[in-house]
């Protein structure tokens, strides 16, 4: 079980959090102007990387805040955690 450093609350057990999948997928501002393929790209396509992945996490049983995490899915090492709207750290 991970130890996750919530940017608002500090270190807490993973059981307080839920993972919201890949990060930095921005909802298109003008969905109506997209083709089916372009919309499907946003809606369905996820990278699911083995290795360093950018993820969204929510402190669901804590402050309820969403934040971003850089995690290596092959060994579960958390490389960075940063707030929503902040730029990902350069890797």
């Amino acid at each position: 079980m991970f130890l996750i450093n919530c940017p608002y609350c500090g270190e807490r057990d993973q059981s307080e959090f839920s993972c919201g999948g890949e990060a930095h997928i921005v909802r298109p501002k003008q969905p109506t102007e997209l083709s089916d393929d372009q919309w499907a790209e946003y809606l369905f396509m996820r990278k699911n990387i083995k290795g360093v992945q950018f993820e969204r996490w929510n402190h669901a049983h804590g402050c309820r805040k969403w934040f971003n995490m850089v995690r290596d899915t092959s060994n579960d090492k958390i490389h960075a955690i940063y707030k929503m709207g902040e730029k990902p750290p350069v890797e």
Partner: protein, 1000 residues
């Protein structure tokens, strides 16, 4: 004292006799014994039958690696437990144990016939044989396999014992209380680190604690003496917690570990006093030091599995720790110096022992010591066969060829009653690999040792591949100092004297003059797989160790291959002609040893299994005979039977009353979200399919919420309480998810919106009153209020007052009747309800539950999200086009509504169904077909809601049917088990299409 109890030790109190039963027979042991040591003291070796061939098997080891002595304890009680290793259970007065794999008895075993036909049970036998004919599987193969599988019996009643969980945080966790674990704990604790030491045995000290040999000394004392002094000092340290009888079960990421403490398992049943049986420790530690030791390897040769064949170090422990000699005529079969310690211990107590060593020589101190004591050693030799049915009685040995690939010369028979094996040592790297650590292969002694990269965990002692006493002390000290960043200490100048092993030789599968096909050289004792099976798997094309393992079942028993994995790998490498290090290892998964279900669930049983949510009106419902339905965690009244009324009759009565006069429903469980902020209207515009900006203050509107994929997600009525203030209601089950989803969009997609969401579900109680007389009842409760349609129209809200308590009155309807919902702060919920009942008395107001609510809304064709929808229905599929705004530029899910898939005409669409026989009620979930003649019959939809309507006096149903929109009036069939029901597609609104009743 029994004749095998030859030695007095301080660990077994021979003044305290303990009686116990094994396979129904009474025996005596002593306090301090394990079940295994007590059995051996009574001369009992045969404790079970092997899994596949049902061969007699005996106690092999003294720890968690035991493959054979698997017992069922306390049979025929509520606390009976299977799969208990006799080597791990501490003896207590009255313990009842029985061997697990021996139906009908351990001495006469019908499954033994498998042994005789074993040439026909090769690797993959189960896959190959029991497949065909298919009809044999259920009636013949499965019962046969189950009967002879010997996997123990699970208890049949709820576990009466208490289990506990404990969450703790430490600076340092040390796993294993052997010599290296003790050194590590002492260094940590003395350097002001809050430390916990965990040991699975009941005393500390590992195998050093009973070591009394001239060749192994620390600071000029016997290693056991030195260690005893260290332990005594250790126990005085303040910031060290020592937990014995506690075994590490799992090592998860970020140094989160689970350990199971046995609290009462060693206490006689009648003295346990209902206390806690086991406690699961959930430990988060900054630093973890693994000191789990090593397991001795057996040797693989023909018939290496008879009772009386044991591991050499275990024979030594039974002698030096428990005072039990496993035989009086011992032979040790070895490839290393370690076994000579066992020989010296035996010989010093005057017990006969000879050694067969596959090596050509060894001149170490311990070997010379054995020779000096007169132990006969057969160098460069191997065992080619063993004899003895229920216990070993003799062996055949031969010389090895120069390269060890064959045997040469004549057979030589030696009599023995115990054969001790030592094939070297396997570091217990389970914890290291569970944590995600990798392994390196060390050629010189053919071991996998930890490759450490995690800066927060190290391995010390023999689990790290240090097998010599001087290495263990020196390396443990240096490593721990580095790891914990501490300076010099008391262990820096420890002087160690020990015999060093120089000569090594390893042969994974020992050669034989008997052809390979006729040898039974066991690798996995618990799952009965042999060297031959491994080779067959390779011949049949299996290459990966993971595949060979599954095909032969090697390493897949409850011991997870603690004794077998290395030999399996070695034989694969030798047969395939590849280097063992390149094969990789199999994955060790938690738990290290089996855990009880009780320890996993802890206190989360019975009423603590899940939260039960009750409304503030719950007590009234119970007093009025409500039957409940679970909706999420809520208890909702389902129906209120009068006298011995059943569900159907009660619902018919309730439904009729609600339409004829007045009904009242506890609607408190609906999710309520308070929405405030200057952008609240814009926010609602984006999350609902319909438009919200023009909703006036004091008005209510029904809204439908989609997922981004266009499928219906939730629905409910939202009320505008003020300029920037709304109250949203959600479905009962969807409340938490809707809030999460809305928060997600607010925080991540639209952070620019000024909107705040608060869950207020529990803050308000809601009484929903419907029916033609509801207005009159409201008037009685709020006499000052004007309830005329002009002053208080449908879909509007006003505040009202009961005494001095303000409540919100919404005129909204889920039944199609004139209807009001009164919301009041929860603590007043029950008094509000009682007031409504009192006011409604003259109109025979009838409380109704969820079943009636469902029926009433179905009459009106209102959907229930989650019943009539299943995550694949768009609003268009539901024929709810009217609620999807054409004008709005965007809302969640809008773009998906015209994807190529969602605009298909042949999607399943919501329709009504009327049965040709109005008294026939369809089953919810039943399939719908149109053409019975074309095989296979195509199923074009299913029934989602179905009721008998007392108001329409006929059966009605909602269903989703492919292209249903175009099928009105068409005849369809609902085929059931015994008959086909004829139905006609209808409109989904069955009652009051003109919506007259809402303003009745």
């Amino acid at each position: 004292m029994t004749k095998f109890r030859v030695n007095k030790t301080k660990y077994v109190d021979q003044t305290k006799s303990v009686s116990f039963y094994f396979d129904g027979k009474s025996y005596h042991g002593f306090e301090g014994d394990t079940l295994a040591s007590a059995l051996l003291a009574n001369g009992v070796h045969l404790v079970g039958r092997s899994f596949k061939y049902h061969r007699p098997r005996g106690i092999m080891s003294c720890g968690s690696e035991e493959p054979n002595a698997i017992c069922q304890i306390n049979e025929d009680t509520d606390i009976t437990e299977p799969n208990v290793r006799a080597t791990e259970i501490e003896l207590y007065e009255g313990l009842k144990a029985s061997s697990q794999n021996c139906w009908p008895s351990v001495k006469f075993d019908i499954g033994g016939i498998n042994n005789l036909i074993s040439p026909f049970i090769p690797a993959g036998f189960y896959y190959k044989t029991f497949m065909w004919p298919k009809s044999f599987w259920k009636k013949i193969y499965e019962p046969l396999i189950r009967m002879s599988a010997g996997l123990g019996k699970s208890p049949t009643k709820p576990d009466p014992e208490l289990y506990d969980h404990k969450h703790v945080h430490f600076d340092v966790l040390v796993i294993g209380g052997g010599i290296s674990g003790i050194i590590a704990s002492k260094i940590a604790a003395k350097n002001n680190l809050k430390t916990i030491l965990i040991e699975d045995k009941n005393i500390l000290g590992g195998s050093t604690i009973y070591q009394k040999n001239e060749n192994y000394k620390i600071n000029n004392k016997y290693s056991s003496e030195w260690l005893n002094e260290e332990i005594a000092e250790l126990k005085k340290l303040d910031n060290l917690t020592i937990k014995t009888r506690t075994s590490l079960a799992a090592y998860h990421s970020y140094n989160y570990l689970l350990a199971k403490e046995n609290i009462s398992d060693h206490i006689p049943l009648d003295k346990r006093n209902g206390g806690i049986r086991q406690r699961l420790w959930k430990i988060r530690a900054d630093k973890v030091i693994v000191a789990t030791g090593a397991i001795e390897r057996p040797l693989v040769f023909n018939n290496n599995d008879r009772p009386g064949i044991m591991l050499s170090n275990s024979v030594k422990k039974y002698l030096d720790f428990y005072g039990v000699s496993c035989g009086f005529n011992n032979v040790i079969f070895t490839n290393n110096d370690g076994a000579y310690e066992t020989a010296v211990s035996l010989k010093e107590k005057g017990i006969s022992v000879e050694i067969i060593d596959i090596r050509k020589k060894s001149n170490s101190k311990i070997v010379k010591n054995a020779e000096k004591l007169g132990v006969k050693i057969y160098w460069n030799s191997t065992i080619v066969n063993t004899y003895g049915h229920r216990k070993i009685n003799s062996i055949d040995i031969m010389n090895l060829s120069e390269d060890g690939s064959n045997v040469v010369g004549d057979k030589n028979r030696i009599n023995c009653d115990c054969l001790a094996l030592s094939g070297g040592w396997t570091p217990m790297v389970h914890m290291h690999t569970q944590s995600g650590g990798k392994l390196d292969f060390r050629e010189i002694d053919q071991t996998f040792i930890p490759n450490e990269i995690d800066e927060n965990h190290i391995n010390v002692g023999s689990c790290n591949g240090d097998f010599e006493l001087d290495d263990i002390i020196k390396n443990t000290n240096n490593k721990v100092k580095n790891f914990l960043k501490v300076s010099e200490n008391e262990f820096d100048n420890t002087s160690v004297l020990n015999s060093k092993e120089i000569d090594k030789r390893n042969i994974w599968l020992l050669p034989n003059y008997i052809s390979e096909g006729k040898c039974k050289s066991f690798i996995d004792f618990q799952n009965d797989s042999t060297a031959k099976d491994i080779k067959l798997a390779l011949r049949e094309g299996f290459k990966s160790i993971e595949h060979v393992k599954r095909y032969t079942t090697t390493g897949m028993a409850t011991d997870q291959g603690k004794l077998s994995n290395m030999h399996a790998l070695g034989i694969i490498a030798d047969t395939a002609g590849v280097k063992m290090g390149t094969l990789g290892t199999t994955t060790f998964r938690p738990p290290f040893t089996p855990l009880t279900f009780g320890s996993i669930v802890g206190r989360n049983v019975g009423k603590f299994f899940d939260i039960v949510r009750k409304t503030s009106i719950h007590e009234w419902h119970s007093q009025n005979n409500a039957k409940y339905e679970n909706v999420g965690q809520w208890k909702r009244p389902w129906y209120y039977p009068i006298n011995d009324e059943g569900l159907h009759d009660a619902v018919q009565r309730e439904s009729k009353a609600a339409r004829d006069s007045a009904g009242i429903l506890d609607a408190s469980t609906l999710g309520k979200i308070d929405i405030q902020g200057t952008d609240a209207s814009e926010f609602l515009n984006r999350v609902y399919t319909n438009a919200w900006s023009k909703l006036e203050i004091g008005k209510c509107r029904y809204g439908l919420m989609l997922n981004e994929d266009g499928m219906v997600y939730d629905d409910g009525v939202t009320t505008r309480l003020g300029e920037n203030h709304y109250l949203m209601t959600t479905t009962t089950g969807g409340a938490a998810n809707v809030l999460s989803k809305l928060e997600d969009y607010l925080q991540t997609e639209w952070p620019e919106l000024d909107v705040y969401l608060t869950s207020v579900t529990d803050h308000y109680s809601t009484a929903s009153i419907c029916g033609p007389n509801s207005k009159k009842i409201l008037k009685k409760i709020f006499p000052d209020k004007d309830f005329s349609d002009d002053a208080f129209p449908h879909m509007s809200y006003q505040n009202g007052k009961i005494d001095e308590i303000i409540c919100r009155i919404m005129r909204i309807s889920f039944t199609g009747e004139l209807s009001y919902e009164i919301n009041i702060e929860s603590q007043y919920g029950k008094s509000l309800w009682e007031k409504c009942i009192e006011a409604g008395k003259e109109f025979k107001i009838t409380p109704y539950g969820t079943e009636t609510m469902h029926l009433l809304r179905a009459e009106k064709g209102f959907i229930i999200v989650g019943q009539d929808t299943d995550g694949t229905m768009t609003p268009i599929d539901l024929q709810m086009d009217w609620i999807v705004s054409k004008k709005k530029y965007d809302f969640i899910g809008k773009r998906s509504l015209y994807r190529s898939d969602t605009i298909r005409e042949d999607r399943k669409q919501l329709v009504g169904l009327l049965t040709d026989d109005p008294n026939e009620i369809l089953e919810e979930g039943a399939q719908i077909v149109s053409d019975m003649s074309k095989k296979p019959i195509e199923m074009i939809g299913h029934v989602t809601s179905s009721y008998f309507s007392p108001n329409l006096k006929k059966s009605i149903a909602l269903a989703v049917v492919k292209s249903g929109k175009t099928m009105k009036g068409q005849k369809l069939i609902v085929p059931m088990e015994n008959k086909n029901i004829n139905v006609t597609v209808s409109d989904s609104v069955f009652l009051d299409k003109e919506n007259k009743r809402i303003n009745a």
